[in-house]
Amino acid sequence: MSRSLLLRGGRVVDPSQKLDAKRDVLLVDGKVATVRAKLDAPENARVVECAGLVVTPGLIDVHVHLREPGEEHKETIATGAAAAAAGGFTAVCAMPNTDPPIDDPAAVGFVAAEGRRAGSARVYPVGCISAGRDGKRLALIGEMVEAGAVAVTDDGNPVMDSGLMRTALEYALAFGIPVADHPEDLGLSLTGHMNEGIVATRLGLPGKPNAAEDIHIVRDLLLAELTGGHIHLQHVSTRFGVESIRQAKARGVHVTAEATPHHLVLTHDAVIGYRTDAKMNPPLRAAEDMAAVRAGLADGTLDSVATDHAPHHYDEKEAAFAEAPNGIVGLETALGIMLTRVVGEGVIDLPTLVERMSCAPARAFNLPGGTLAEGSPADVTVFDPKETWVVDPRAFLSKSRNTPFTGWELTGRPKLTVVAGRIVFGDDEARPRRRRGER
Amino acid sequence: MPAKKRIHVMDEADVRREIARMAREIVECNGGIAGLVLMGVHRRGTQIADLLLKEIEQIGGGPVSYGSIDITLYRDDLGTIGPRPVVGESELPASGIDGQTVVLVDDVAYTGRTMRAAINELSDWGRPRRIQFCVLVDRGGRELPIQPDFVGRAVTVAKDQRVEVYVPELDGKLGVELRTVEPEAA
């Protein structure tokens, strides 16, 4: 087990305990031991001075693509976990749209084992809803949960068959896991490359209308209501989608939902000039949609921030817009973007940010963490709310560089990431131990 | 264009006198006006050619074919000075130029490059029996071995001086001046 660690004198923000005060945090044996105003360091403990820094429960990203197995030239579980740690995340949920897809217990076990070996941020596998992600019949959901899957999704593909979606929501009830959906009606959006609207019209690019997303959001909400299952709606980007979720939550439907940093700060104008680094799915929408996503984040309709970290090799994005793949990396810019452009612009305050990036995601996916309550896992994020830095993708630990935020000046930067009491990012002793058995 | 100094070279009477003289020379040299074609070089060459034409028709006692030529697309300096967005139109005389004596008329003779371009262009248009060259002012400074056949006035001009030929259609007066120009404006 790791050495005891004392984080001294930081501003501890832990919405799970309604705590926002200067505290010392002592981590012992991989657990939070004590959080007090003044603590003496036990013998042997390592002390990290955190004056001027913010100390929070470890950030959790329930939506990342780590590309392993199959596309290791874009990212591996190890590089993705390291990028997560560098971005202040102590845990990530790995989407199953790999090659082959994560649709059986052996594949789930592989992701979990590679995650442990990486020895960085925790990596939780997410399994497929349907075998082979082909949207036809259920994958081995029960066995995958036994092997460590924390949720199921066919992300990348929506579940087009409403009957299958109903079955998945019902079946998953037995295991208490969320069914996550990428809401998109492909009949309306398959040929599209960006948001449908004036920008797409000017650029001569076929668009994806809001309705493509709205229809599936509403469908999923109705099916969750019908079945009593837990629907988790991924990367919500439309005003009508946000409003529908708001109403469903008021009716008591078991729904959780994500907002991505990019849908909170960018609109489809970012695509002008055929910027493939602004190409993602769902696409960047109109300003009214961005405003609605912000409002949804503020009132908790969208309870979790998730990056949809989607690495692509540079030469795949170096292409004509229609030929470039969807997605951007997000792990290493998320916190800075959220602090600068979402908290900084007064959309939410700092405790709400921690709620949306740590507490709520932990609850949504039933993950350990999301709190600094005594006895909980010693997963902690420490960041400097004042440090100003410029996004330089060359410095990313991720294998990929596809970000629309290159050159952005951000204020607020991760300084220390602690997983199970061990520093995995933020000092030189913390080089991830790769290819070794234990944590 | 900042001008330091203007030096008078020719007034209207001088210009008209020299044009009348050149008209006589052209008619004499070609033994009349048969087969004669006058072509002004854009832009001010065409106005000089118009004046010349009237004189020649008076002397010759009959109509003389005329046309104009724009050498913009035959210049050899596109790569260095960039394109000139204003490209003029060339106008072939009604009689054509094959087998004719074409007198090219320009306002000023300088490096010879305009004459070279005009001769090239004429060769693309047809096969004149003979090409002659007539200018109102020869300022010297040739960079090519081409000389005018008829010269109104030869002047010695410093590098930083420009010969300004004024014609009524464009400048409201007829005359020639030397202007000293700032080096960067040259």
């Binding site: 817009f321 030929e323 | 139109e89």
Partner: protein, 324 residues
């Protein structure tokens, strides 16, 4: 009559960002070029020694031939690469194409490509001048220019005219270039066609929308009739070509309600009996052949203006700077 400095930038990617002055400069320059095509020797030496590659990733005989005539009449050396269906379009990425062109030290590339944005992509990556000969649904600037020239020649102006583009606006790069150019020069612009073939939010381009062609005809001084691709019917945008002709086809019967001097343009190739009836195409209002003639002159003007050799811009492009 002072020459405009840097009349165009390094490239002609589209008409969207050209000013009225730039558009007028191109049209004014095209005028004298028309006369060159009337000469016995239809050639001037202005682009002698320049190498131009016509790189066509889509088959387009007329645009390519028009460019080729323009290039040859300016004495450029030309190479045609028709890549549609060949190995270059399949295996090679646009980046590799760009690098290969750069390595061959060519002066200009005229490119047709099925992907919107392909011309900008290439222009940002090579120091040569790039002329967009049509990129996906984005723009076809020389077609827009030749339409402007044809309208200006026949009507004596563009400003204040009511021009309606009829047909498949959704998939049309010709429509977009026309809309930008016409609006910049002060025309009123409308579009007309089946709602399934209208781009989303098209009004935000600053155009009026007619659903019925009868209304469009009554309103217009100029009709620009677009080709209806057979594939549109196959893809279900319109139920049948016959129905399209009945409802949106431009016929002499419909033109009876038009202004007396209404002009009819068509970028070609025509589907006679679909979007336009033969008696209109061959009738007195049609300026379709003028468009073809003007196409060569406009392309000569564009090539000439771009060829001005501006090494500092080329250098910037080479370093990835791009040229807006």
């Amino acid at each position: 009559m002072t020459p405009t400095p840097a009349a165009l930038g390094k490239d002609l990617v589209g008409l969207q960002y050209l000013s009225a002055d730039q558009l007028r400069t191109i049209l004014d320059t095209a005028e004298p070029f028309k006369e060159i095509s009337e000469r016995r020797i239809k050639k001037v030496p202005v682009l002698r020694g320049k190498t131009i590659v016509n790189l066509f990733f889509e088959a387009s005989t007329r645009t390519r031939i028009s460019f080729e005539f323009a290039e040859k009449r300016l004495s450029a050396d030309t190479v045609n690469i028709v890549a549609a269906g060949s190995s270059i379009s399949k295996g090679e990425t646009l980046v590799d194409t760009a690098r290969n062109l750069e390595a061959m030290r060519i002066d200009m590339v005229v490119m047709r490509h099925p992907a919107s944005g392909a011309a900008q992509f290439l222009a940002d990556r090579i120091p040569s001048n790039v002329v967009n000969a049509g990129d996906g649904r984005h723009e076809h600037p020389t077609q827009g220019l030749l339409d402007l020239l044809t309208i200006r020649d026949r009507m004596g102006r563009v400003e204040g005219l009511k021009v309606c583009i009829v047909g498949d606006i959704l998939h049309s790069r010709v429509a977009r270039s026309n809309i930008y150019g016409l609006l910049t020069l002060g025309a009123e612009v409308a579009v007309c066609g089946p709602p399934t073939l209208m781009p989303p939010a098209v009004q935000e381009l600053g155009v009026q929308v007619f659903t019925r062609v009868e209304e469009a005809i009554e309103w217009s001084d100029v009709l620009n009739v677009l080709r209806l691709q057979l594939e549109r019917m196959e893809a279900g945008y319109v139920p049948s070509l016959r129905e399209y002709n009945r409802i949106w086809g431009v016929s002499n019967a419909r033109l009876e309600a038009a202004k007396k001097d209404l002009l009819v343009l068509h970028p070609g190739p025509m589907n006679r009996g679909v979007e336009i009836d033969s008696d209109v195409a061959d009738g007195p209002r049609s300026v379709i052949l003028d468009q073809v003639t003007n196409g060569v002159a406009v392309r000569m003007a564009v090539l000439y203006l771009l060829a001005g050799g501006q090494p500092e811009r080329a250098e910037a492009a080479k370093q990835g700077g791009g040229d807006a």
